[in-house]
Protein backbone atom coordinates (compact mmCIF):
# COMPACT_ATOMS: atom_id res chain seq x y z
CA UNK A 1 0.00 0.00 0.00
CA UNK A 2 1.09 3.57 -0.68
CA UNK A 3 0.64 6.40 1.81
CA UNK A 4 -2.02 8.77 0.48
CA UNK A 5 -0.43 11.66 2.38
CA UNK A 6 2.85 11.24 0.51
CA UNK A 7 1.02 11.39 -2.81
CA UNK A 8 -0.99 14.43 -1.77
CA UNK A 9 2.22 16.14 -0.70
CA UNK A 10 3.42 15.70 -4.27
CA UNK A 11 0.13 17.15 -5.49
CA UNK A 12 0.93 20.24 -3.45
CA UNK A 13 4.15 20.55 -5.45
CA UNK A 14 2.21 20.83 -8.72
CA UNK A 15 2.27 24.48 -9.63
CA UNK A 16 -1.04 26.02 -8.55
CA UNK A 17 -3.43 27.13 -11.23
CA UNK A 18 -2.51 30.63 -12.39
CA UNK A 19 -4.80 33.41 -11.09
CA UNK A 20 -6.56 33.83 -14.43
CA UNK A 21 -7.52 30.14 -14.61
CA UNK A 22 -8.71 30.08 -10.99
CA UNK A 23 -10.88 33.15 -11.48
CA UNK A 24 -12.20 31.83 -14.79
CA UNK A 25 -13.12 28.55 -13.07
CA UNK A 26 -15.24 30.48 -10.58
CA UNK A 27 -16.85 32.64 -13.28
CA UNK A 28 -17.59 29.60 -15.47
CA UNK A 29 -19.81 28.10 -12.77
CA UNK A 30 -22.40 30.73 -13.58
CA UNK A 31 -24.33 30.11 -16.80
CA UNK A 32 -25.23 33.81 -16.93
CA UNK A 33 -21.70 35.06 -16.32
CA UNK A 34 -20.89 38.52 -17.65
CA UNK A 35 -18.45 38.35 -20.56
CA UNK A 36 -16.89 41.66 -19.43
CA UNK A 37 -15.68 39.98 -16.25
CA UNK A 38 -13.96 37.30 -18.34
CA UNK A 39 -12.37 39.91 -20.59
CA UNK A 40 -10.96 41.68 -17.54
CA UNK A 41 -9.46 38.46 -16.16
CA UNK A 42 -7.97 37.42 -19.48
CA UNK A 43 -6.41 40.82 -20.20
CA UNK A 44 -4.21 40.57 -17.10
CA UNK A 45 -2.73 37.23 -18.18
CA UNK A 46 0.47 37.59 -20.21
CA UNK A 47 -0.17 34.72 -22.65
CA UNK A 48 -3.89 34.06 -22.72
CA UNK A 49 -5.13 36.90 -24.98
CA UNK A 50 -2.87 35.92 -27.86
CA UNK A 51 -3.66 32.21 -27.40
CA UNK A 52 -7.41 32.81 -27.43
CA UNK A 53 -7.17 34.93 -30.56
CA UNK A 54 -4.99 32.32 -32.26
CA UNK A 55 -7.37 29.50 -31.30
CA UNK A 56 -10.51 31.40 -32.32
CA UNK A 57 -9.03 32.46 -35.66
CA UNK A 58 -7.69 28.99 -36.41
CA UNK A 59 -11.22 27.59 -36.18
CA UNK A 60 -12.78 30.42 -38.16
CA UNK A 61 -13.67 30.30 -41.82
CA UNK A 62 -10.85 31.78 -43.95
CA UNK A 63 -13.56 33.79 -45.73
CA UNK A 64 -14.16 35.80 -42.55
CA UNK A 65 -12.06 38.69 -41.31
CA UNK A 66 -9.67 37.50 -38.56
CA UNK A 67 -10.59 38.53 -35.03
CA UNK A 68 -8.27 41.10 -33.48
CA UNK A 69 -10.03 41.89 -30.18
CA UNK A 70 -9.82 39.46 -27.30
CA UNK A 71 -13.46 40.14 -26.36
CA UNK A 72 -14.55 38.88 -29.79
CA UNK A 73 -12.43 35.76 -29.35
CA UNK A 74 -14.05 35.10 -25.94
CA UNK A 75 -17.55 35.56 -27.36
CA UNK A 76 -16.67 33.27 -30.25
CA UNK A 77 -15.20 30.52 -28.03
CA UNK A 78 -17.51 30.71 -25.02
CA UNK A 79 -16.43 30.83 -21.38
CA UNK A 80 -15.99 27.05 -20.82
CA UNK A 81 -13.66 26.84 -23.82
CA UNK A 82 -11.70 29.87 -22.59
CA UNK A 83 -11.26 28.13 -19.24
CA UNK A 84 -10.18 24.91 -20.93
CA UNK A 85 -7.53 26.76 -22.95
CA UNK A 86 -6.30 28.55 -19.81
CA UNK A 87 -5.91 25.23 -17.96
CA UNK A 88 -4.20 23.56 -20.92
CA UNK A 89 -1.80 26.51 -21.11
CA UNK A 90 -0.83 25.74 -17.54
CA UNK A 91 -0.94 21.93 -17.44
CA UNK A 92 -0.31 21.01 -21.04
CA UNK A 93 3.41 20.39 -20.77
CA UNK A 94 3.29 18.00 -17.78
CA UNK A 95 0.30 16.26 -19.37
CA UNK A 96 2.41 15.58 -22.46
CA UNK A 97 4.92 13.53 -20.45
CA UNK A 98 4.85 9.73 -20.79
CA UNK A 99 3.40 7.90 -17.77
CA UNK A 100 4.87 4.38 -17.96
CA UNK A 101 3.13 3.23 -14.75
CA UNK A 102 -0.18 3.53 -16.61
CA UNK A 103 1.20 2.45 -19.99
CA UNK A 104 0.71 5.94 -21.44
CA UNK A 105 3.14 7.12 -24.11
CA UNK A 106 4.24 10.72 -24.59
CA UNK A 107 1.21 12.92 -25.30
CA UNK A 108 -1.38 10.23 -24.55
CA UNK A 109 -2.65 11.69 -21.26
CA UNK A 110 -3.02 15.06 -22.96
CA UNK A 111 -4.85 13.50 -25.93
CA UNK A 112 -7.13 11.52 -23.65
CA UNK A 113 -7.95 14.51 -21.47
CA UNK A 114 -8.60 16.94 -24.30
CA UNK A 115 -10.70 14.36 -26.20
CA UNK A 116 -12.81 13.80 -23.07
CA UNK A 117 -13.22 17.57 -22.63
CA UNK A 118 -14.24 17.96 -26.27
CA UNK A 119 -16.78 15.15 -25.82
CA UNK A 120 -18.21 16.95 -22.77
CA UNK A 121 -18.46 20.15 -24.81
CA UNK A 122 -20.31 18.33 -27.62
CA UNK A 123 -22.57 16.58 -25.11
CA UNK A 124 -23.50 20.02 -23.83
CA UNK A 125 -24.46 21.03 -27.35
CA UNK A 126 -26.63 17.92 -27.71
CA UNK A 127 -28.18 17.84 -24.25
CA UNK A 128 -28.35 21.53 -23.50
CA UNK A 129 -29.03 22.21 -19.85
CA UNK A 130 -28.57 18.56 -18.89
CA UNK A 131 -24.78 18.98 -19.10
CA UNK A 132 -23.38 21.84 -16.97
CA UNK A 133 -20.52 23.89 -18.49
CA UNK A 134 -18.22 22.82 -15.63
CA UNK A 135 -18.28 19.32 -17.16
CA UNK A 136 -15.63 20.42 -19.68
CA UNK A 137 -13.14 21.32 -16.94
CA UNK A 138 -13.94 18.16 -14.98
CA UNK A 139 -13.46 16.01 -18.09
CA UNK A 140 -10.19 17.76 -18.87
CA UNK A 141 -8.85 17.04 -15.38
CA UNK A 142 -10.46 13.67 -14.66
CA UNK A 143 -7.20 11.70 -14.95
CA UNK A 144 -4.85 14.35 -13.56
CA UNK A 145 -4.36 12.11 -10.52
CA UNK A 146 -2.40 9.65 -12.71
CA UNK A 147 0.26 12.32 -13.18
CA UNK A 148 0.87 12.59 -9.44
CA UNK A 149 0.27 8.98 -8.41
CA UNK A 150 2.41 7.37 -11.14
CA UNK A 151 5.86 8.17 -9.63
CA UNK A 152 4.75 6.30 -6.48
CA UNK A 153 3.81 3.14 -8.36
CA UNK A 154 6.69 0.67 -8.23
CA UNK A 155 6.84 -1.96 -11.01
CA UNK A 156 5.62 -4.58 -8.53
CA UNK A 157 2.47 -2.50 -7.97
CA UNK A 158 1.73 -2.12 -11.69
CA UNK A 159 2.37 -5.85 -12.15
CA UNK A 160 0.01 -6.66 -9.27
CA UNK A 161 -2.67 -4.50 -10.92
CA UNK A 162 -2.11 -6.30 -14.24
CA UNK A 163 -2.35 -9.70 -12.51
CA UNK A 164 -5.57 -8.76 -10.74
CA UNK A 165 -7.04 -7.72 -14.10
CA UNK A 166 -5.76 -10.69 -16.11
CA UNK A 167 -6.10 -13.51 -13.58
CA UNK A 168 -9.08 -12.44 -11.50
CA UNK A 169 -10.98 -10.46 -14.11
CA UNK A 170 -11.05 -7.30 -12.01
CA UNK A 171 -11.92 -3.94 -13.52
CA UNK A 172 -8.71 -1.91 -13.77
CA UNK A 173 -9.74 0.84 -11.36
CA UNK A 174 -10.87 -1.75 -8.78
CA UNK A 175 -7.51 -3.50 -9.12
CA UNK A 176 -5.79 -0.14 -8.62
CA UNK A 177 -7.86 0.42 -5.48
CA UNK A 178 -7.00 -3.04 -4.13
CA UNK A 179 -3.26 -2.75 -4.79
CA UNK A 180 -2.68 0.93 -4.00
CA UNK A 181 -5.39 1.50 -1.39
CA UNK A 182 -6.94 4.39 -3.31
CA UNK A 183 -7.29 5.38 -6.96
CA UNK A 184 -5.98 8.07 -9.31
CA UNK A 185 -9.54 9.44 -9.23
CA UNK A 186 -9.25 10.26 -5.52
CA UNK A 187 -5.85 11.88 -6.05
CA UNK A 188 -7.26 13.93 -8.92
CA UNK A 189 -10.14 15.12 -6.74
CA UNK A 190 -7.69 16.19 -4.03
CA UNK A 191 -5.77 18.21 -6.62
CA UNK A 192 -9.01 19.92 -7.68
CA UNK A 193 -9.71 20.72 -4.02
CA UNK A 194 -6.20 22.10 -3.52
CA UNK A 195 -6.82 24.35 -6.53
CA UNK A 196 -10.12 25.49 -5.01
CA UNK A 197 -12.12 24.32 -8.00
CA UNK A 198 -15.87 23.90 -7.72
CA UNK A 199 -16.67 21.00 -5.38
CA UNK A 200 -18.88 19.44 -8.07
CA UNK A 201 -15.86 19.32 -10.36
CA UNK A 202 -13.80 17.63 -7.64
CA UNK A 203 -16.65 15.20 -6.91
CA UNK A 204 -17.00 14.32 -10.60
CA UNK A 205 -13.27 13.59 -10.84
CA UNK A 206 -13.46 11.44 -7.70
CA UNK A 207 -16.48 9.48 -8.93
CA UNK A 208 -15.63 8.95 -12.57
CA UNK A 209 -15.11 5.22 -12.08
CA UNK A 210 -17.97 4.72 -9.61
CA UNK A 211 -21.07 3.37 -11.28
CA UNK A 212 -24.64 2.57 -10.39
CA UNK A 213 -25.03 5.75 -8.38
CA UNK A 214 -26.21 9.15 -9.50
CA UNK A 215 -23.42 11.59 -8.64
CA UNK A 216 -24.88 14.37 -10.74
CA UNK A 217 -24.69 15.45 -14.37
CA UNK A 218 -21.04 16.59 -14.27
CA UNK A 219 -19.94 13.13 -13.12
CA UNK A 220 -22.16 11.56 -15.81
CA UNK A 221 -20.65 13.80 -18.51
CA UNK A 222 -17.12 12.91 -17.36
CA UNK A 223 -17.93 9.18 -17.58
CA UNK A 224 -19.25 9.63 -21.11
CA UNK A 225 -16.27 11.80 -22.08
CA UNK A 226 -13.85 9.22 -20.68
CA UNK A 227 -15.51 6.42 -22.65
CA UNK A 228 -15.64 8.46 -25.86
CA UNK A 229 -11.90 9.17 -25.63
CA UNK A 230 -11.14 5.48 -24.98
CA UNK A 231 -13.45 4.34 -27.78
CA UNK A 232 -11.46 6.52 -30.16
CA UNK A 233 -8.20 5.03 -28.93
CA UNK A 234 -7.05 8.24 -27.24
CA UNK A 235 -5.01 7.47 -24.13
CA UNK A 236 -5.91 3.81 -23.74
CA UNK A 237 -2.78 2.88 -21.82
CA UNK A 238 -2.67 -0.35 -19.80
CA UNK A 239 -6.29 0.13 -18.79
CA UNK A 240 -7.50 -0.06 -22.37
CA UNK A 241 -11.28 -0.26 -22.36
CA UNK A 242 -11.21 -2.19 -19.10
CA UNK A 243 -13.68 0.13 -17.43
CA UNK A 244 -17.25 -0.49 -16.47
CA UNK A 245 -19.59 1.45 -18.73
CA UNK A 246 -22.61 3.02 -17.16
CA UNK A 247 -25.74 2.99 -19.31
CA UNK A 248 -27.65 4.72 -16.50
CA UNK A 249 -25.46 7.81 -16.89
CA UNK A 250 -26.51 8.02 -20.54
CA UNK A 251 -30.17 7.63 -19.72
CA UNK A 252 -29.91 10.43 -17.13
CA UNK A 253 -28.28 12.71 -19.71
CA UNK A 254 -30.86 11.75 -22.34
CA UNK A 255 -28.17 10.31 -24.62
CA UNK A 256 -29.06 7.43 -26.93
CA UNK A 257 -26.59 4.91 -28.30
CA UNK A 258 -26.82 6.71 -31.62
CA UNK A 259 -25.99 10.00 -29.86
CA UNK A 260 -22.95 8.33 -28.29
CA UNK A 261 -21.72 7.21 -31.70
CA UNK A 262 -22.29 10.68 -33.14
CA UNK A 263 -20.35 12.26 -30.25
CA UNK A 264 -17.47 9.88 -31.03
CA UNK A 265 -17.58 10.89 -34.70
CA UNK A 266 -17.79 14.58 -33.84
CA UNK A 267 -14.83 14.43 -31.44
CA UNK A 268 -12.81 12.66 -34.11
CA UNK A 269 -13.75 15.28 -36.70
CA UNK A 270 -13.00 18.21 -34.38
CA UNK A 271 -9.88 16.90 -32.67
CA UNK A 272 -7.76 19.04 -34.99
CA UNK A 273 -9.11 22.03 -33.02
CA UNK A 274 -7.42 20.95 -29.81
CA UNK A 275 -4.42 19.65 -31.71
CA UNK A 276 -3.68 23.28 -32.56
CA UNK A 277 -2.89 23.95 -28.91
CA UNK A 278 -0.93 20.73 -28.34
CA UNK A 279 2.09 21.67 -26.23
CA UNK A 280 5.53 20.12 -26.56
CA UNK A 281 6.76 17.64 -23.99
CA UNK A 282 9.40 19.12 -21.68
Amino acid sequence: MIALDAVINDALLLAPLPPAASRLARIAQDRDADISEVVTVVRYDPELPSQLLAYANANRSPALTPLTHVRDAIVCLGIPKVLEIAVIEHLGTPMMEPIPAYGLQEGELWEHSTAAALAAEILGQISGDAVPPASILAALLHDIGKLVLAPHLEPKATMAIARAVDERGMVYSQAELEVVGFTHALVGARIAEIWNLDEQVAAAIRRHHELDTDHGPIADAVRVGNLVAKTLGRGLGDEGLNLAADAAAYHRLGISRQDFEMVCAEVLARFHEVDRIRPHAA
Partner: protein, 158 residues
Protein backbone atom coordinates in the same frame (compact mmCIF):
# COMPACT_ATOMS: atom_id res chain seq x y z
CA UNK B 1 7.85 3.90 -45.99
CA UNK B 2 5.62 3.84 -42.90
CA UNK B 3 2.02 5.00 -43.36
CA UNK B 4 -0.15 5.59 -40.30
CA UNK B 5 -3.79 4.72 -40.97
CA UNK B 6 -5.78 6.74 -38.45
CA UNK B 7 -9.40 6.21 -37.41
CA UNK B 8 -11.70 6.90 -40.36
CA UNK B 9 -8.91 6.40 -42.89
CA UNK B 10 -7.77 3.80 -45.38
CA UNK B 11 -4.55 3.11 -47.23
CA UNK B 12 -3.78 0.70 -50.05
CA UNK B 13 -0.33 0.14 -51.48
CA UNK B 14 1.56 -1.88 -54.08
CA UNK B 15 4.99 -0.84 -52.78
CA UNK B 16 6.60 -3.88 -51.16
CA UNK B 17 8.71 -1.72 -48.85
CA UNK B 18 5.64 -0.02 -47.34
CA UNK B 19 4.54 -0.67 -43.77
CA UNK B 20 0.95 0.24 -42.88
CA UNK B 21 0.32 0.79 -39.19
CA UNK B 22 -2.59 1.90 -37.05
CA UNK B 23 -2.44 4.00 -33.90
CA UNK B 24 -3.82 2.33 -30.74
CA UNK B 25 -7.35 1.15 -31.39
CA UNK B 26 -10.24 1.15 -28.93
CA UNK B 27 -13.60 0.13 -30.36
CA UNK B 28 -12.53 0.93 -33.92
CA UNK B 29 -11.70 -1.94 -36.22
CA UNK B 30 -9.03 -2.53 -38.86
CA UNK B 31 -9.85 -4.63 -41.91
CA UNK B 32 -6.60 -5.80 -43.49
CA UNK B 33 -6.48 -6.94 -47.11
CA UNK B 34 -3.49 -8.60 -48.70
CA UNK B 35 -3.04 -10.15 -52.12
CA UNK B 36 0.28 -11.95 -52.12
CA UNK B 37 0.15 -12.77 -55.85
CA UNK B 38 -0.39 -9.13 -56.81
CA UNK B 39 1.80 -7.71 -54.03
CA UNK B 40 -0.94 -5.42 -52.77
CA UNK B 41 -1.96 -4.65 -49.22
CA UNK B 42 -4.21 -2.26 -47.44
CA UNK B 43 -5.93 -1.31 -44.20
CA UNK B 44 -9.37 0.18 -43.69
CA UNK B 45 -9.65 1.60 -40.15
CA UNK B 46 -13.27 2.44 -39.41
CA UNK B 47 -14.93 3.66 -36.24
CA UNK B 48 -18.64 2.94 -36.65
CA UNK B 49 -20.60 0.11 -38.27
CA UNK B 50 -23.40 1.75 -40.22
CA UNK B 51 -23.65 5.08 -41.99
CA UNK B 52 -27.42 5.29 -41.55
CA UNK B 53 -26.89 7.37 -38.40
CA UNK B 54 -25.38 10.19 -40.48
CA UNK B 55 -25.40 10.01 -44.28
CA UNK B 56 -23.93 13.53 -44.37
CA UNK B 57 -20.92 12.49 -42.36
CA UNK B 58 -20.56 9.34 -44.48
CA UNK B 59 -20.55 11.54 -47.54
CA UNK B 60 -17.73 13.65 -46.05
CA UNK B 61 -15.78 10.67 -44.76
CA UNK B 62 -16.94 7.26 -46.03
CA UNK B 63 -14.12 5.46 -44.18
CA UNK B 64 -15.62 6.41 -40.84
CA UNK B 65 -18.22 3.64 -41.38
CA UNK B 66 -17.83 -0.02 -42.30
CA UNK B 67 -20.68 -0.06 -44.81
CA UNK B 68 -19.48 2.93 -46.82
CA UNK B 69 -15.76 2.43 -46.23
CA UNK B 70 -15.35 -1.19 -47.29
CA UNK B 71 -16.70 -0.83 -50.86
CA UNK B 72 -14.38 2.13 -51.37
CA UNK B 73 -11.46 0.23 -49.85
CA UNK B 74 -12.09 -2.83 -51.99
CA UNK B 75 -12.40 -0.71 -55.14
CA UNK B 76 -9.08 0.97 -54.35
CA UNK B 77 -7.35 -2.40 -53.86
CA UNK B 78 -8.86 -3.85 -57.04
CA UNK B 79 -7.87 -0.71 -58.97
CA UNK B 80 -4.27 -1.30 -57.89
CA UNK B 81 -4.47 -4.82 -59.31
CA UNK B 82 -5.62 -6.96 -56.39
CA UNK B 83 -7.85 -9.91 -57.22
CA UNK B 84 -10.87 -11.10 -55.24
CA UNK B 85 -9.74 -14.67 -55.82
CA UNK B 86 -6.32 -14.29 -54.21
CA UNK B 87 -6.98 -11.57 -51.63
CA UNK B 88 -7.08 -12.50 -47.94
CA UNK B 89 -8.88 -10.49 -45.28
CA UNK B 90 -8.07 -10.20 -41.59
CA UNK B 91 -9.68 -8.12 -38.86
CA UNK B 92 -8.24 -6.61 -35.69
CA UNK B 93 -9.68 -4.38 -32.96
CA UNK B 94 -13.26 -3.93 -31.80
CA UNK B 95 -12.53 -3.77 -28.08
CA UNK B 96 -15.28 -2.65 -25.77
CA UNK B 97 -15.88 -1.67 -22.18
CA UNK B 98 -17.36 -3.92 -19.52
CA UNK B 99 -21.05 -3.43 -20.05
CA UNK B 100 -23.51 -6.16 -19.05
CA UNK B 101 -26.35 -4.07 -20.48
CA UNK B 102 -24.77 -4.23 -23.97
CA UNK B 103 -25.67 -0.57 -24.39
CA UNK B 104 -22.15 0.15 -25.67
CA UNK B 105 -21.68 -2.91 -27.84
CA UNK B 106 -19.88 -0.82 -30.46
CA UNK B 107 -16.84 -3.09 -30.72
CA UNK B 108 -19.04 -6.17 -31.14
CA UNK B 109 -21.31 -4.43 -33.65
CA UNK B 110 -18.26 -3.35 -35.63
CA UNK B 111 -17.13 -6.97 -35.81
CA UNK B 112 -20.57 -8.25 -36.82
CA UNK B 113 -21.03 -5.69 -39.58
CA UNK B 114 -17.49 -6.26 -40.86
CA UNK B 115 -18.20 -10.01 -41.16
CA UNK B 116 -21.50 -9.38 -42.94
CA UNK B 117 -20.02 -6.93 -45.42
CA UNK B 118 -16.94 -8.99 -46.25
CA UNK B 119 -19.03 -12.16 -46.59
CA UNK B 120 -21.34 -10.23 -48.91
CA UNK B 121 -18.34 -9.50 -51.12
CA UNK B 122 -17.33 -13.18 -50.97
CA UNK B 123 -14.19 -12.24 -49.07
CA UNK B 124 -14.60 -14.00 -45.72
CA UNK B 125 -12.37 -12.98 -42.83
CA UNK B 126 -9.65 -15.58 -42.45
CA UNK B 127 -7.75 -14.31 -39.39
CA UNK B 128 -8.77 -12.10 -36.55
CA UNK B 129 -7.81 -10.75 -33.15
CA UNK B 130 -10.84 -8.91 -31.82
CA UNK B 131 -12.93 -8.07 -28.77
CA UNK B 132 -11.93 -7.94 -25.14
CA UNK B 133 -10.95 -4.70 -23.48
CA UNK B 134 -7.35 -4.25 -24.60
CA UNK B 135 -5.91 -1.66 -26.93
CA UNK B 136 -4.33 -3.01 -30.09
CA UNK B 137 -2.16 -1.73 -32.92
CA UNK B 138 -1.73 -3.40 -36.31
CA UNK B 139 1.32 -3.45 -38.58
CA UNK B 140 1.10 -4.80 -42.14
CA UNK B 141 4.17 -5.45 -44.27
CA UNK B 142 2.84 -4.88 -47.79
CA UNK B 143 5.63 -6.88 -49.41
CA UNK B 144 5.15 -10.12 -47.47
CA UNK B 145 1.62 -9.71 -46.16
CA UNK B 146 2.85 -10.51 -42.67
CA UNK B 147 0.68 -8.82 -40.09
CA UNK B 148 1.58 -8.14 -36.47
CA UNK B 149 -0.68 -7.15 -33.62
CA UNK B 150 0.67 -5.20 -30.64
CA UNK B 151 -1.34 -5.62 -27.49
CA UNK B 152 -0.23 -4.30 -24.07
CA UNK B 153 3.50 -4.38 -24.62
CA UNK B 154 3.60 -7.62 -26.61
CA UNK B 155 3.65 -8.03 -30.35
CA UNK B 156 2.75 -11.23 -32.19
CA UNK B 157 2.12 -12.27 -35.74
CA UNK B 158 -1.48 -12.75 -36.75
Amino acid sequence: MVHVVGVGEMKTSNHPEDLLVTPPMGASLALILHDRAAGIGGILHFLLPLSEISPERASDNPCLFADTGFPLFLRAALALGASRRTSKIAMVGGAQPIDPSEFFALGRRNQAVARRITNGEDLPIEKEHVGGTRARRVRLDVGSGRTWVACRGEEFEL
